[in-house]
């Protein structure tokens, strides 16, 4: 394989990997505040993409406004979801909550099918389709938007965790919820906030990916799966791990398309995920799973 071809595959891997990273961050945020794996995470992505399509093409809003409004709408969906279905069950077992998110995922997906139909819809690229040539690889401006905005979002999240009082409270909750409560942190608010942020990250991923690969009501399942895999690969609960895992998964997939065949790309990605877990049972950057006796 030529170097420019390899570079091309790596760039497209980083692009899809950035999307997986945003979704993985959504999983991480909710996992850290509730220990729950949110199976509806992919539906946030799908809703973000489809809302932006409608806002832009039906309501004629300019792209940046459609982007922000779509993220806002999905954030409200995330908040409602937490208040209606997660908050009342805060004392139930984790598996019960996970099944609630499975129900929510089925519900949101099929409501989207009724609202938007079964066809794949698309958005125009944010700033044209003219590719830029870098070291022999052709990179579309949308790719740069995806990678750039994901990087900014990840950096802002780090600033949020390290520099703001709410961010520090959220971090405290993820380390020890009871201790955080005793320090006067309103953990219920933190859970709500984590769902809102998680929905926003998901929606952002959805709007970013739509110009590249289109979006339909059924896209959430596979996107959520990739995000979950990325979060686990990097080490569940670690935001940096989620980003590393997501991007790595995207690159692995892309390289297996290049070196093996596109039919096997999921199998290769998951095989490597399994091998990583077998040798490092808590993911690449995860801390050892501690069990209290």
């Amino acid at each position: 394989m030529q170097f420019d071809q390899l570079l091309q595959f790596i760039v497209s891997g980083i692009t899809s990997g950035s999307i997986y990273a945003l979704i993985a961050l959504g999983f991480t945020l909710i996992y850290n505040s509730t220990q729950v794996i949110n199976f509806a995470q992919g539906e946030f992505v799908m809703l973000g993409g489809l809302s932006a399509v409608s806002l832009h093409s039906v309501l004629d809003l300019p792209l940046p406004a459609a982007f922000l409004l779509a993220v806002g709408i999905v954030t409200i969906v995330g908040i409602l979801f937490e208040r209606v279905a997660i908050h009342p069950l805060r004392n139930s077992s984790i598996i019960t909550l996970i099944i609630v998110t499975v129900g929510a995922s089925i519900l949101l997906k099929n409501i989207a099918m009724i609202l938007w139909g079964r066809d794949s819809l698309t958005l125009p690229a944010f700033s044209g389709d003219k590719p830029v040539e870098i070291l022999g690889a052709y990179i579309t401006p949308q790719t740069l938007w995806v990678i750039g905005l994901t990087t900014i979002a990840v950096l802002l999240l780090q600033v949020f965790y390290k520099r703001t009082i709410v961010g520090k409270a959220m971090k405290a909750c993820s380390i020890n919820q009871n201790a955080a409560k005793l320090m006067g942190i309103n953990t219920s608010r933190i859970v709500l906030l984590s769902f809102a942020m998680s929905a926003a990250f998901g929606a952002m991923a959805g709007v970013l990916i739509t110009p590249i690969s289109m979006i339909s009501y059924s896209a959430g399942g596979f996107l959520g799966l990739k995000g979950f895999a990325g979060a686990v690969l990097g080490g569940l609960g670690n935001p940096i791990g989620a980003v590393v895992g997501g991007v790595l998964l995207g690159v692995l997939e892309s390289l297996s398309i290049g070196f093996i065949s596109s039919g096997y790309k999921d199998a290769v990605a998951f095989l490597i995920l399994l091998l990583v877990l077998f040798f490092k049972p808590s993911g690449i950057l995860g801390s050892r799973v501690k069990e209290k006796v």
Binding site: G103, A104, I114, V232, L274, V289
Partner: protein, 334 residues
């Protein structure tokens, strides 16, 4: 818990009642359509009984049982359509291959805990799904395999839905007895100990790794048997029957009925199978309603139907028993 599961003799009375009801249903609802629903119900029950032992008793969550379901179905389909072997050999192959693959994946996977284990089983199932699609010479790719013959034993062919139902009924009842026996044996108690605290169980001398692998293999074999019965009924097999959605639905059946209770598995598999079938009449809205019911059921019955049922029974008992008011209120609040 003990009263809900039945103790000693009453347990076998309930098994008898269940077996009788399941034998009578196809006589009352005798059209082919109803029989096919009952066959599907029996198959789901077989798989969910095994998954409930794994999840509810041993506390190990698998989001990959559609893989074993598929392995069982493909084992039978490949043996009969590609090699021309009789169907009962295909079912034997389903059990052996399903069990071996489960053993092979269980050894490294069950060292993982919680969500990491769930991810490993999910990843495994995704790999198996890709293999169903891509090993086209063996599996027929997206088209799948057609013309799988009905199984026959000693010249008796289970070639109509009614006859096949007899086989499914038999396997369902045997699986139920097996699950009850395991749940109420030394093994069942060991599994519960693992669920409670693996370290404590190990300290008490329970070989936790061995029991976890055994119950995983057993649940996978039940899923494989379910898969081979499924393909016997529909006569063809394709990858779309063994997706992540199927794995998740099976887990939902376990939790919906009531985890850690053998009868919960029966109730969960039966109600969700019938609900899904019933909702098909609502076309586009069917999955919206299904999702909403699943969510609401969990919000109002976090411990599943069995949990909700036993709460109602004990509150009725309290009302009729001679217990001071305050004690009753305390129980209701907890």
């Amino acid at each position: 818990m003990a009263s809900a599961q039945g103790t000693g003799r009453s347990r076998w009375v309930w098994v008898g009642i269940y077996a009788a009801v399941m034998a009578l249903l196809p006589i009352i609802y005798s059209s082919n359509y109803y029989i096919k629903v009952l066959v599907a119900l029996g198959i789901n029950t077989i798989i969910v009984l095994g998954l409930n032992l794994l999840m509810g008793y041993a506390g190990q969550v698998s989001i990959g049982h559609a893989a074993f379901y598929g392995i069982g179905a493909y084992a039978l389909a490949i043996m009969t359509t590609k090699y021309g072997l009789p169907a009962w050999l295909g079912i034997a192959a389903a059990i052996i291959v399903g069990g071996l693959v489960a053993y092979w994946i269980a050894k490294p996977s069950l060292r993982l805990k919680g969500h990491y284990l769930a991810m490993a089983t999910l990843g495994f199932a995704e790999i198996v799904h890709v293999l169903f699609l891509e090993l086209k010479d063996m599996t027929g790719g997206t088209d799948g395999l057609y013309g799988v013959p009905a199984p026959s034993i000693a010249g008796f062919a289970f070639d109509t839905p009614q006859k096949l139902y007899i086989l499914v009924w038999l396997v369902t009842v045997v699986s139920l007895v097996l699950a009850l026996n395991i749940a109420h044996s030394r093994v069942g108690r060991a599994l519960r100990a693992v669920h409670g605290s693996e370290i404590a169980a190990a300290a008490m001398g329970v070989d936790t790794a061995k029991y976890k692998i055994q119950v995983f293999v057993l649940s996978a074999i039940l899923a494989s048997v379910g898969g081979s019965l499924y393909v016997s009924m529909v006569g063809y097999v394709s990858p779309e029957s063994f997706t992540l959605g199927v794995s998740i639905t099976l887990v939902a059946m376990v939790v919906f009925g009531g985890m850690g209770n053998v009868w919960g598995a029966i109730i969960g598999a039966s109600t969700l199978t019938i609900l899904q079938e019933y909702l098909k009449g609502y076309q586009d809205y069917n999955m919206v309603i299904f999702g909403a019911i699943l969510m609401l059921a969990m919000v109002f019955m976090p411990r599943g139907l069995i949990g909700a049922g036993s709460e109602i029974i004990s509150s009725v008992r309290r009302r009729f028993a001679d217990i001071p008011e305050t004690a009753g209120e305390e129980n209701a609040a907890s």
